[in-house]
Protein backbone atom coordinates (compact mmCIF):
# COMPACT_ATOMS: atom_id res chain seq x y z
CA UNK A 1 0.00 0.00 0.00
CA UNK A 2 1.40 3.40 -0.93
CA UNK A 3 1.97 6.16 1.62
CA UNK A 4 -0.77 8.26 0.07
CA UNK A 5 -3.25 5.38 0.17
CA UNK A 6 -2.38 4.77 3.82
CA UNK A 7 -2.77 8.44 4.80
CA UNK A 8 -5.97 8.61 2.80
CA UNK A 9 -7.34 5.63 4.71
CA UNK A 10 -6.40 7.21 8.05
CA UNK A 11 -7.98 10.50 6.99
CA UNK A 12 -11.25 8.79 6.08
CA UNK A 13 -11.13 6.67 9.21
CA UNK A 14 -10.81 9.70 11.47
CA UNK A 15 -13.52 11.54 9.58
CA UNK A 16 -15.92 8.65 9.81
CA UNK A 17 -15.11 8.31 13.51
CA UNK A 18 -17.64 11.15 13.86
CA UNK A 19 -20.24 9.01 12.09
CA UNK A 20 -19.33 6.07 14.34
CA UNK A 21 -19.92 8.16 17.48
CA UNK A 22 -23.27 9.30 16.13
CA UNK A 23 -24.24 5.71 15.36
CA UNK A 24 -23.03 4.64 18.81
CA UNK A 25 -25.34 7.22 20.37
CA UNK A 26 -28.42 6.09 18.45
CA UNK A 27 -27.85 2.33 18.18
CA UNK A 28 -26.12 1.63 21.46
CA UNK A 29 -27.02 4.36 23.94
CA UNK A 30 -30.63 4.93 22.87
CA UNK A 31 -31.14 1.48 21.30
CA UNK A 32 -32.71 3.33 18.36
CA UNK A 33 -31.75 1.74 15.01
CA UNK A 34 -31.45 4.93 13.02
CA UNK A 35 -31.01 4.85 9.24
CA UNK A 36 -31.50 8.63 8.93
CA UNK A 37 -27.70 8.65 8.81
CA UNK A 38 -27.71 7.72 5.10
CA UNK A 39 -29.59 10.98 4.47
CA UNK A 40 -28.06 13.26 7.07
CA UNK A 41 -24.48 12.59 5.89
CA UNK A 42 -25.12 13.95 2.34
CA UNK A 43 -27.36 16.61 3.93
CA UNK A 44 -24.35 17.90 5.84
CA UNK A 45 -22.29 17.83 2.66
CA UNK A 46 -25.04 19.54 0.63
CA UNK A 47 -25.69 22.32 3.13
CA UNK A 48 -21.99 23.04 3.64
CA UNK A 49 -21.19 22.99 -0.08
CA UNK A 50 -24.17 25.13 -1.05
CA UNK A 51 -23.37 27.64 1.69
CA UNK A 52 -19.69 27.79 0.69
CA UNK A 53 -20.36 28.42 -3.00
CA UNK A 54 -22.84 31.16 -2.00
CA UNK A 55 -19.94 32.90 -0.29
CA UNK A 56 -20.69 31.98 3.32
CA UNK A 57 -17.71 31.51 5.63
CA UNK A 58 -16.75 27.80 5.61
CA UNK A 59 -16.81 27.53 9.42
CA UNK A 60 -20.30 29.00 9.52
CA UNK A 61 -21.27 26.73 6.61
CA UNK A 62 -20.10 23.70 8.60
CA UNK A 63 -22.07 24.89 11.62
CA UNK A 64 -25.18 25.25 9.43
CA UNK A 65 -24.64 21.69 8.21
CA UNK A 66 -24.53 20.42 11.81
CA UNK A 67 -27.82 22.19 12.58
CA UNK A 68 -29.41 20.76 9.44
CA UNK A 69 -28.36 17.26 10.49
CA UNK A 70 -29.68 17.82 14.01
CA UNK A 71 -32.99 18.94 12.54
CA UNK A 72 -33.20 15.77 10.42
CA UNK A 73 -32.57 13.71 13.56
CA UNK A 74 -35.27 15.66 15.39
CA UNK A 75 -37.78 14.83 12.65
CA UNK A 76 -36.98 11.11 12.93
CA UNK A 77 -37.27 11.29 16.72
CA UNK A 78 -40.53 13.23 16.45
CA UNK A 79 -42.07 10.68 14.05
CA UNK A 80 -41.21 7.98 16.56
CA UNK A 81 -41.98 9.70 19.85
CA UNK A 82 -44.99 11.83 18.98
CA UNK A 83 -46.54 9.98 16.02
CA UNK A 84 -45.58 6.55 17.42
CA UNK A 85 -44.11 5.31 14.16
CA UNK A 86 -41.75 2.35 14.57
CA UNK A 87 -38.21 3.73 15.01
CA UNK A 88 -36.69 1.87 12.08
CA UNK A 89 -39.49 2.92 9.72
CA UNK A 90 -39.42 6.52 10.96
CA UNK A 91 -35.72 6.73 10.13
CA UNK A 92 -36.20 5.16 6.70
CA UNK A 93 -38.94 7.68 5.89
CA UNK A 94 -36.69 10.59 6.81
CA UNK A 95 -33.78 9.05 4.90
CA UNK A 96 -35.89 8.81 1.75
CA UNK A 97 -37.28 12.31 2.23
CA UNK A 98 -33.76 13.68 2.65
CA UNK A 99 -32.78 12.46 -0.82
CA UNK A 100 -35.25 14.93 -2.33
CA UNK A 101 -34.36 17.61 0.18
CA UNK A 102 -30.65 17.26 -0.59
CA UNK A 103 -31.36 17.69 -4.32
CA UNK A 104 -33.43 20.79 -3.49
CA UNK A 105 -30.69 22.20 -1.26
CA UNK A 106 -28.02 21.77 -3.92
CA UNK A 107 -30.26 22.48 -6.91
CA UNK A 108 -28.32 19.79 -8.81
CA UNK A 109 -26.89 16.38 -7.99
CA UNK A 110 -23.31 17.53 -7.54
CA UNK A 111 -21.43 20.62 -6.33
CA UNK A 112 -17.67 20.76 -6.86
CA UNK A 113 -15.73 22.73 -4.26
CA UNK A 114 -12.41 22.88 -6.09
CA UNK A 115 -10.88 26.34 -5.72
CA UNK A 116 -13.36 27.35 -3.00
CA UNK A 117 -12.20 28.37 0.46
CA UNK A 118 -12.95 25.53 2.90
CA UNK A 119 -12.13 24.89 6.54
CA UNK A 120 -9.07 23.00 5.30
CA UNK A 121 -7.74 25.84 3.09
CA UNK A 122 -5.44 27.21 5.87
CA UNK A 123 -3.51 23.94 5.68
CA UNK A 124 -2.29 24.86 2.20
CA UNK A 125 -0.11 27.60 3.74
CA UNK A 126 2.21 24.91 5.09
CA UNK A 127 2.85 23.44 1.67
CA UNK A 128 5.72 25.87 1.13
CA UNK A 129 7.40 24.34 4.21
CA UNK A 130 7.24 20.93 2.60
CA UNK A 131 4.19 19.74 4.51
CA UNK A 132 1.57 18.77 1.93
CA UNK A 133 -2.03 18.89 3.14
CA UNK A 134 -2.54 15.17 2.62
CA UNK A 135 -0.05 14.70 5.47
CA UNK A 136 -1.44 17.48 7.68
CA UNK A 137 -5.07 16.58 7.22
CA UNK A 138 -4.89 13.31 9.22
CA UNK A 139 -3.22 15.21 12.08
CA UNK A 140 -5.93 17.88 12.12
CA UNK A 141 -8.66 15.25 11.97
CA UNK A 142 -7.01 13.27 14.78
CA UNK A 143 -7.06 16.35 17.01
CA UNK A 144 -10.69 16.93 16.06
CA UNK A 145 -11.64 13.31 16.79
CA UNK A 146 -9.99 13.48 20.22
CA UNK A 147 -11.63 16.82 21.08
CA UNK A 148 -15.07 15.57 19.99
CA UNK A 149 -14.56 12.37 21.95
CA UNK A 150 -13.63 14.36 25.06
CA UNK A 151 -16.78 16.49 24.94
CA UNK A 152 -18.96 13.52 24.02
CA UNK A 153 -17.61 11.52 26.98
CA UNK A 154 -18.18 14.48 29.26
CA UNK A 155 -21.75 14.83 27.99
CA UNK A 156 -22.55 11.16 28.48
CA UNK A 157 -21.33 11.29 32.08
CA UNK A 158 -23.39 14.38 32.89
CA UNK A 159 -26.80 14.20 34.55
CA UNK A 160 -28.53 14.58 31.17
CA UNK A 161 -26.18 12.08 29.54
CA UNK A 162 -26.89 9.56 32.27
CA UNK A 163 -30.62 10.14 31.80
CA UNK A 164 -30.16 9.45 28.08
CA UNK A 165 -28.31 6.19 28.78
CA UNK A 166 -31.04 5.12 31.21
CA UNK A 167 -33.66 5.93 28.55
CA UNK A 168 -32.08 3.44 26.17
CA UNK A 169 -31.26 0.78 28.74
CA UNK A 170 -34.46 0.78 30.83
CA UNK A 171 -37.15 3.22 29.72
CA UNK A 172 -39.65 2.19 32.39
CA UNK A 173 -37.15 2.81 35.17
CA UNK A 174 -36.09 6.07 33.51
CA UNK A 175 -39.69 7.35 33.51
CA UNK A 176 -40.09 6.35 37.16
CA UNK A 177 -36.97 8.38 37.94
CA UNK A 178 -38.58 11.44 36.40
CA UNK A 179 -36.81 11.28 33.04
CA UNK A 180 -38.91 12.40 30.10
CA UNK A 181 -37.78 9.61 27.79
CA UNK A 182 -39.44 11.11 24.72
CA UNK A 183 -37.46 14.30 25.13
CA UNK A 184 -34.25 12.30 25.63
CA UNK A 185 -34.82 10.44 22.36
CA UNK A 186 -35.40 13.74 20.52
CA UNK A 187 -32.23 15.26 21.99
CA UNK A 188 -30.16 12.13 21.35
CA UNK A 189 -31.31 11.81 17.75
CA UNK A 190 -30.50 15.47 17.14
CA UNK A 191 -26.98 15.11 18.55
CA UNK A 192 -26.38 11.84 16.71
CA UNK A 193 -27.37 13.23 13.32
CA UNK A 194 -25.54 16.47 14.08
CA UNK A 195 -22.36 14.39 14.36
CA UNK A 196 -23.10 12.65 11.08
CA UNK A 197 -23.86 15.87 9.20
CA UNK A 198 -20.67 17.37 10.65
CA UNK A 199 -18.75 14.44 9.13
CA UNK A 200 -20.61 14.96 5.83
CA UNK A 201 -19.69 18.65 5.75
CA UNK A 202 -16.01 17.89 6.43
CA UNK A 203 -16.05 15.05 3.91
CA UNK A 204 -17.33 17.31 1.13
CA UNK A 205 -14.69 19.90 1.96
CA UNK A 206 -11.78 17.47 2.15
CA UNK A 207 -12.83 15.56 -0.99
CA UNK A 208 -13.64 18.72 -2.92
CA UNK A 209 -17.27 17.97 -3.80
CA UNK A 210 -20.72 17.29 -2.43
CA UNK A 211 -22.77 14.64 -4.16
CA UNK A 212 -26.33 13.49 -3.57
CA UNK A 213 -25.24 9.84 -3.60
CA UNK A 214 -22.62 10.27 -0.86
CA UNK A 215 -24.86 8.74 1.76
CA UNK A 216 -25.27 5.26 0.35
CA UNK A 217 -24.06 2.77 2.93
CA UNK A 218 -22.89 5.32 5.50
CA UNK A 219 -24.98 3.62 8.19
CA UNK A 220 -23.32 0.28 7.48
CA UNK A 221 -19.87 1.85 7.64
CA UNK A 222 -20.80 3.48 10.96
CA UNK A 223 -22.12 0.20 12.32
CA UNK A 224 -19.08 -1.68 11.05
CA UNK A 225 -16.89 0.78 12.96
CA UNK A 226 -18.90 0.53 16.17
CA UNK A 227 -19.13 -3.26 16.12
CA UNK A 228 -15.53 -3.75 14.99
CA UNK A 229 -14.27 -1.38 17.66
CA UNK A 230 -16.28 -3.15 20.34
CA UNK A 231 -14.86 -6.48 19.26
CA UNK A 232 -11.40 -5.06 19.89
CA UNK A 233 -11.98 -2.87 22.96
CA UNK A 234 -14.74 -4.13 25.24
CA UNK A 235 -16.87 -1.06 25.93
CA UNK A 236 -17.20 -1.32 29.70
CA UNK A 237 -17.04 2.43 30.20
CA UNK A 238 -18.11 5.42 28.12
CA UNK A 239 -14.45 6.30 27.63
CA UNK A 240 -13.71 2.88 26.18
CA UNK A 241 -16.89 2.80 24.09
CA UNK A 242 -16.15 6.06 22.29
CA UNK A 243 -12.49 5.08 21.91
CA UNK A 244 -13.73 1.87 20.31
CA UNK A 245 -15.70 3.98 17.79
CA UNK A 246 -12.55 5.82 16.68
CA UNK A 247 -10.37 2.71 16.60
CA UNK A 248 -13.08 0.74 14.81
CA UNK A 249 -13.48 3.42 12.17
CA UNK A 250 -9.72 3.57 11.52
CA UNK A 251 -9.51 -0.19 11.43
CA UNK A 252 -12.36 -0.43 8.95
CA UNK A 253 -10.69 1.99 6.53
CA UNK A 254 -7.33 0.29 6.84
CA UNK A 255 -8.91 -3.11 6.24
CA UNK A 256 -10.75 -1.82 3.18
CA UNK A 257 -7.61 -0.13 1.83
CA UNK A 258 -5.59 -3.27 2.42
CA UNK A 259 -8.19 -5.42 0.68
CA UNK A 260 -8.41 -3.10 -2.32
CA UNK A 261 -4.64 -2.63 -2.58
CA UNK A 262 -3.74 -6.28 -2.37
CA UNK A 263 -3.56 -6.97 -6.10
CA UNK A 264 -3.41 -10.71 -5.68
CA UNK A 265 -6.92 -10.72 -4.18
CA UNK A 266 -8.21 -9.03 -7.29
CA UNK A 267 -10.73 -6.77 -5.51
CA UNK A 268 -11.81 -3.55 -7.16
CA UNK A 269 -13.46 -0.38 -5.83
CA UNK A 270 -16.88 -1.65 -6.86
CA UNK A 271 -16.47 -4.54 -4.43
CA UNK A 272 -16.41 -2.12 -1.47
CA UNK A 273 -19.98 -2.75 -0.29
CA UNK A 274 -19.49 -6.50 -0.41
CA UNK A 275 -16.24 -6.17 1.55
CA UNK A 276 -18.03 -3.95 4.10
CA UNK A 277 -20.86 -6.43 4.59
CA UNK A 278 -18.38 -9.27 5.08
CA UNK A 279 -16.34 -7.19 7.54
CA UNK A 280 -19.48 -6.46 9.60
CA UNK A 281 -20.37 -10.14 9.71
CA UNK A 282 -16.81 -11.05 10.75
CA UNK A 283 -16.79 -8.39 13.46
CA UNK A 284 -20.11 -9.63 14.82
CA UNK A 285 -19.00 -13.24 14.85
CA UNK A 286 -15.47 -12.69 16.16
CA UNK A 287 -16.31 -11.81 19.79
CA UNK A 288 -18.69 -14.75 20.02
CA UNK A 289 -15.99 -17.24 19.17
CA UNK A 290 -13.76 -15.73 21.83
CA UNK A 291 -16.43 -15.55 24.51
CA UNK A 292 -19.65 -17.53 24.12
CA UNK A 293 -21.46 -15.40 26.70
CA UNK A 294 -21.09 -12.08 24.96
CA UNK A 295 -23.69 -12.52 22.28
CA UNK A 296 -26.32 -14.17 24.45
CA UNK A 297 -30.07 -13.80 24.06
CA UNK A 298 -29.94 -10.16 25.16
CA UNK A 299 -27.74 -9.41 22.16
CA UNK A 300 -27.03 -5.74 21.73
CA UNK A 301 -28.17 -4.84 25.21
CA UNK A 302 -25.48 -7.12 26.55
CA UNK A 303 -22.79 -5.39 24.67
CA UNK A 304 -21.68 -1.88 24.11
CA UNK A 305 -23.44 0.02 26.84
CA UNK A 306 -20.44 0.66 29.03
CA UNK A 307 -20.88 2.68 32.14
Amino acid sequence: MSMIALLGAIELGLLFALVAQGVYLSFRVLQFPDLTVDGSFPLGAAVAATAIISGIDPYLATLLAIFAGALAGLVTGWLNVRLQILHLLASILVMIALYSINLRVMGRPNIPLLGETTVFTPLEAFEADGLPSYMLLPVVLLVLAVVVKFFFDRFLSSEIGLAMRATGANPRMAEAQGINTGRMILLGMAISNGFVAFAGALFAQSQGAADVTLGVGVIVIGLASVIGGEALISPRTVFRATLACIVGSLLYRLAVAAALNADFVGLKAQDLNLVTAILVVLAMVAPRTRNPFRASATGGANRGKGK
Partner: protein
Amino acid sequence: MIRIEAICKAFNRGTAMEMPALRQVSLDIPAGQFVTVIGSNGAGKSTLLNALAGEAIPDEGRILIDEIDVTNWPTSRRAGLVARVFQDPLIGSCGTLTIAENLSLAGCRGQTRGLKRATSQASRDRAAALLERLGLGLESRLDDLMELLSGGQRQALSLLMATLTPMKILLLDEHTAALDPKTGAFVLGLTRQIVAEQNLTTLMVTHSMTQALAIGDRTIMLHQGEIVLDVAGEERAGLSVQDLLDMFQRERGEILDDDSALA
Protein backbone atom coordinates in the same frame (compact mmCIF):
# COMPACT_ATOMS: atom_id res chain seq x y z
CA MET B 1 -52.61 13.46 51.68
CA ILE B 2 -53.47 11.27 48.72
CA ARG B 3 -57.05 11.42 47.46
CA ILE B 4 -58.40 9.00 44.88
CA GLU B 5 -61.87 10.06 43.71
CA ALA B 6 -64.04 7.44 42.03
CA ILE B 7 -61.54 6.29 39.44
CA CYS B 8 -62.53 3.83 36.73
CA LYS B 9 -60.21 2.05 34.39
CA ALA B 10 -61.10 -0.53 31.75
CA PHE B 11 -58.87 -2.33 29.30
CA ASN B 12 -59.84 -2.81 25.64
CA ARG B 13 -62.35 -0.06 26.13
CA GLY B 14 -65.16 0.15 23.61
CA THR B 15 -64.58 -3.36 22.28
CA ALA B 16 -66.32 -6.65 22.95
CA MET B 17 -63.31 -7.60 25.04
CA GLU B 18 -63.81 -4.71 27.49
CA MET B 19 -62.37 -5.64 30.88
CA PRO B 20 -63.04 -3.29 33.78
CA ALA B 21 -60.02 -3.27 36.09
CA LEU B 22 -61.15 -0.54 38.52
CA ARG B 23 -64.79 0.41 39.20
CA GLN B 24 -65.39 3.67 41.02
CA VAL B 25 -62.52 3.21 43.45
CA SER B 26 -62.24 5.97 46.05
CA LEU B 27 -59.54 6.05 48.68
CA ASP B 28 -58.09 8.69 50.99
CA ILE B 29 -54.64 8.10 52.40
CA PRO B 30 -53.61 10.57 55.10
CA ALA B 31 -49.95 11.64 55.20
CA GLY B 32 -47.74 9.15 57.01
CA GLN B 33 -50.14 6.22 56.70
CA PHE B 34 -48.83 2.80 55.62
CA VAL B 35 -51.53 0.98 53.64
CA THR B 36 -51.26 -2.64 52.54
CA VAL B 37 -53.31 -3.83 49.56
CA ILE B 38 -54.41 -7.42 49.01
CA GLY B 39 -56.61 -9.14 46.46
CA SER B 40 -56.54 -12.10 44.14
CA ASN B 41 -55.15 -12.00 40.62
CA GLY B 42 -57.05 -9.56 38.43
CA ALA B 43 -58.56 -7.73 41.40
CA GLY B 44 -57.12 -4.42 40.23
CA LYS B 45 -54.17 -4.07 42.61
CA SER B 46 -51.63 -3.39 39.90
CA THR B 47 -53.96 -1.07 38.02
CA LEU B 48 -54.53 0.97 41.18
CA LEU B 49 -50.78 1.22 41.66
CA ASN B 50 -50.22 2.07 37.99
CA ALA B 51 -52.90 4.78 38.17
CA LEU B 52 -51.07 6.37 41.09
CA ALA B 53 -47.71 6.01 39.33
CA GLY B 54 -49.00 7.44 36.04
CA GLU B 55 -48.55 4.32 33.94
CA ALA B 56 -52.32 3.85 33.63
CA ILE B 57 -54.38 6.99 33.16
CA PRO B 58 -57.90 6.49 34.61
CA ASP B 59 -60.89 6.71 32.25
CA GLU B 60 -62.89 8.54 34.91
CA GLY B 61 -62.26 10.07 38.32
CA ARG B 62 -59.43 12.11 39.77
CA ILE B 63 -56.23 11.56 41.67
CA LEU B 64 -55.09 14.37 43.96
CA ILE B 65 -51.75 14.54 45.70
CA ASP B 66 -51.74 17.31 48.31
CA GLU B 67 -54.66 18.93 46.47
CA ILE B 68 -52.78 18.88 43.13
CA ASP B 69 -54.72 17.12 40.41
CA VAL B 70 -52.21 14.72 38.86
CA THR B 71 -54.74 12.44 37.12
CA ASN B 72 -53.37 13.04 33.64
CA TRP B 73 -49.72 13.66 34.47
CA PRO B 74 -47.31 11.27 32.74
CA THR B 75 -45.08 9.13 34.94
CA SER B 76 -41.98 11.25 34.53
CA ARG B 77 -43.80 14.45 35.49
CA ARG B 78 -45.13 13.08 38.76
CA ALA B 79 -41.91 11.26 39.66
CA GLY B 80 -41.09 14.02 42.12
CA LEU B 81 -44.29 13.17 44.04
CA VAL B 82 -44.46 9.41 43.56
CA ALA B 83 -41.64 6.91 44.14
CA ARG B 84 -41.94 3.26 43.24
CA VAL B 85 -40.28 -0.11 43.76
CA PHE B 86 -41.21 -2.63 41.08
CA GLN B 87 -41.86 -6.32 41.57
CA ASP B 88 -39.14 -7.25 39.09
CA PRO B 89 -35.71 -6.33 40.50
CA LEU B 90 -34.44 -5.88 36.92
CA ILE B 91 -36.88 -3.03 36.22
CA GLY B 92 -36.11 -0.92 39.27
CA SER B 93 -32.55 -0.21 38.23
CA CYS B 94 -30.37 -0.01 35.14
CA GLY B 95 -28.26 -3.15 34.72
CA THR B 96 -25.83 -1.59 32.29
CA LEU B 97 -25.05 1.38 34.53
CA THR B 98 -22.88 1.25 37.64
CA ILE B 99 -24.20 1.35 41.21
CA ALA B 100 -22.98 4.92 41.62
CA GLU B 101 -24.69 5.96 38.37
CA ASN B 102 -27.97 4.34 39.39
CA LEU B 103 -27.93 6.17 42.70
CA SER B 104 -27.12 9.40 40.90
CA LEU B 105 -30.11 8.87 38.58
CA ALA B 106 -32.35 8.39 41.61
CA GLY B 107 -30.84 11.39 43.37
CA CYS B 108 -32.04 13.62 40.52
CA ARG B 109 -35.62 12.32 40.65
CA GLY B 110 -38.03 15.23 40.59
CA GLN B 111 -35.27 17.73 39.83
CA THR B 112 -34.07 19.34 36.63
CA ARG B 113 -31.08 17.53 35.21
CA GLY B 114 -28.17 19.57 33.94
CA LEU B 115 -24.71 19.15 32.49
CA LYS B 116 -23.05 18.69 35.87
CA ARG B 117 -20.98 15.55 36.16
CA ALA B 118 -23.41 12.93 37.43
CA THR B 119 -21.03 11.03 39.67
CA SER B 120 -18.98 13.73 41.34
CA GLN B 121 -16.83 12.84 44.34
CA ALA B 122 -19.44 14.37 46.66
CA SER B 123 -22.23 12.23 45.19
CA ARG B 124 -20.03 9.12 45.36
CA ASP B 125 -19.32 9.77 49.04
CA ARG B 126 -23.03 10.21 49.69
CA ALA B 127 -23.77 6.98 47.82
CA ALA B 128 -21.13 5.06 49.79
CA ALA B 129 -22.53 6.32 53.10
CA LEU B 130 -26.02 5.23 52.07
CA LEU B 131 -24.88 1.80 50.95
CA GLU B 132 -23.05 1.18 54.18
CA ARG B 133 -26.31 0.92 56.10
CA LEU B 134 -27.39 -2.04 53.94
CA GLY B 135 -24.49 -4.05 55.35
CA LEU B 136 -24.05 -5.83 52.00
CA GLY B 137 -20.57 -4.51 51.31
CA LEU B 138 -21.81 -2.60 48.28
CA GLU B 139 -20.11 0.64 49.36
CA SER B 140 -16.82 -0.72 47.99
CA ARG B 141 -18.43 -1.72 44.67
CA LEU B 142 -19.65 1.68 43.48
CA ASP B 143 -18.19 1.17 40.00
CA ASP B 144 -19.58 -2.32 39.50
CA LEU B 145 -22.34 -2.69 36.94
CA MET B 146 -25.78 -3.16 38.48
CA GLU B 147 -26.29 -6.38 36.49
CA LEU B 148 -23.52 -8.04 38.55
CA LEU B 149 -25.67 -7.87 41.70
CA SER B 150 -28.11 -10.53 42.88
CA GLY B 151 -31.86 -9.96 42.70
CA GLY B 152 -32.04 -9.30 46.43
CA GLN B 153 -29.21 -6.80 46.35
CA ARG B 154 -30.80 -5.04 43.39
CA GLN B 155 -34.16 -4.90 45.13
CA ALA B 156 -32.61 -3.49 48.32
CA LEU B 157 -30.90 -0.87 46.16
CA SER B 158 -34.15 -0.11 44.30
CA LEU B 159 -35.75 0.61 47.65
CA LEU B 160 -32.86 2.82 48.64
CA MET B 161 -33.11 4.64 45.30
CA ALA B 162 -36.86 5.14 45.63
CA THR B 163 -36.47 6.72 49.07
CA LEU B 164 -33.40 8.81 48.25
CA THR B 165 -35.29 12.01 47.55
CA PRO B 166 -38.49 13.29 49.21
CA MET B 167 -41.83 12.12 47.81
CA LYS B 168 -45.52 12.27 48.72
CA ILE B 169 -46.18 8.56 48.38
CA LEU B 170 -44.08 5.42 48.13
CA LEU B 171 -45.54 2.61 46.00
CA LEU B 172 -44.33 -0.93 46.67
CA ASP B 173 -45.48 -3.39 44.03
CA GLU B 174 -45.08 -6.86 45.60
CA HIS B 175 -41.47 -5.89 45.86
CA THR B 176 -40.45 -9.00 47.80
CA ALA B 177 -42.43 -11.51 45.72
CA ALA B 178 -39.58 -12.32 43.33
CA LEU B 179 -37.06 -12.94 46.13
CA ASP B 180 -36.27 -16.04 48.15
CA PRO B 181 -37.87 -16.01 51.67
CA LYS B 182 -34.69 -14.97 53.50
CA THR B 183 -33.85 -12.13 51.12
CA GLY B 184 -37.51 -11.13 51.02
CA ALA B 185 -37.53 -10.82 54.80
CA PHE B 186 -34.39 -8.70 54.67
CA VAL B 187 -35.88 -6.31 52.09
CA LEU B 188 -39.15 -6.16 54.05
CA GLY B 189 -37.28 -5.33 57.26
CA LEU B 190 -35.40 -2.60 55.44
CA THR B 191 -38.71 -1.29 54.08
CA ARG B 192 -40.25 -0.99 57.58
CA GLN B 193 -37.11 0.68 58.86
CA ILE B 194 -36.93 3.30 56.10
CA VAL B 195 -40.69 3.98 56.09
CA ALA B 196 -40.66 4.50 59.86
CA GLU B 197 -37.54 6.65 59.79
CA GLN B 198 -38.79 9.01 57.10
CA ASN B 199 -42.45 8.71 58.14
CA LEU B 200 -43.42 7.93 54.54
CA THR B 201 -46.94 7.65 53.17
CA THR B 202 -46.84 4.17 51.69
CA LEU B 203 -49.02 1.89 49.58
CA MET B 204 -47.79 -1.70 49.49
CA VAL B 205 -49.33 -4.38 47.31
CA THR B 206 -48.75 -7.88 48.58
CA HIS B 207 -49.89 -11.40 47.83
CA SER B 208 -49.50 -12.47 51.44
CA MET B 209 -52.42 -11.82 53.81
CA THR B 210 -50.19 -12.54 56.79
CA GLN B 211 -47.76 -9.88 55.59
CA ALA B 212 -50.59 -7.46 54.84
CA LEU B 213 -51.86 -7.67 58.42
CA ALA B 214 -48.44 -7.70 60.07
CA ILE B 215 -47.16 -4.55 58.41
CA GLY B 216 -48.50 -1.03 58.23
CA ASP B 217 -51.53 0.76 59.73
CA ARG B 218 -54.33 -0.13 57.36
CA THR B 219 -55.28 -2.95 55.02
CA ILE B 220 -57.59 -2.78 52.02
CA MET B 221 -58.80 -5.67 49.93
CA LEU B 222 -59.64 -5.31 46.26
CA HIS B 223 -61.97 -7.66 44.48
CA GLN B 224 -63.09 -7.34 40.87
CA GLY B 225 -62.01 -3.74 40.71
CA GLU B 226 -63.68 -2.61 43.93
CA ILE B 227 -62.54 -2.06 47.49
CA VAL B 228 -64.43 -4.73 49.47
CA LEU B 229 -62.63 -4.40 52.79
CA ASP B 230 -60.94 -1.50 54.52
CA VAL B 231 -59.70 -2.09 58.05
CA ALA B 232 -57.46 -0.02 60.29
CA GLY B 233 -56.70 0.68 63.93
CA GLU B 234 -58.03 -1.57 66.69
CA GLU B 235 -60.32 -3.49 64.40
CA ARG B 236 -57.30 -4.52 62.34
CA ALA B 237 -54.98 -5.17 65.27
CA GLY B 238 -56.79 -8.34 66.39
CA LEU B 239 -57.45 -9.75 62.93
CA SER B 240 -56.18 -13.08 61.71
CA VAL B 241 -56.03 -14.26 58.11
CA GLN B 242 -59.10 -16.44 58.78
CA ASP B 243 -61.02 -13.41 60.10
CA LEU B 244 -60.21 -11.57 56.89
CA LEU B 245 -61.48 -14.44 54.78
CA ASP B 246 -64.67 -14.63 56.86
CA MET B 247 -65.23 -10.90 56.55
CA PHE B 248 -64.79 -11.15 52.81
CA GLN B 249 -67.33 -13.98 52.64
CA ARG B 250 -69.91 -12.03 54.67
CA GLU B 251 -69.35 -8.95 52.56
CA ARG B 252 -69.59 -10.57 49.17
CA GLY B 253 -71.64 -13.65 49.91
CA GLU B 254 -69.10 -15.74 48.06
CA ILE B 255 -66.10 -17.79 48.96
CA LEU B 256 -62.70 -16.82 47.68
CA ASP B 257 -61.93 -19.51 45.19
CA ASP B 258 -58.30 -18.60 44.82
CA ASP B 259 -57.13 -19.01 48.40
CA SER B 260 -53.67 -20.01 47.36
CA ALA B 261 -53.09 -16.61 45.82
CA LEU B 262 -54.08 -14.93 49.07
CA ALA B 263 -52.65 -17.19 51.76
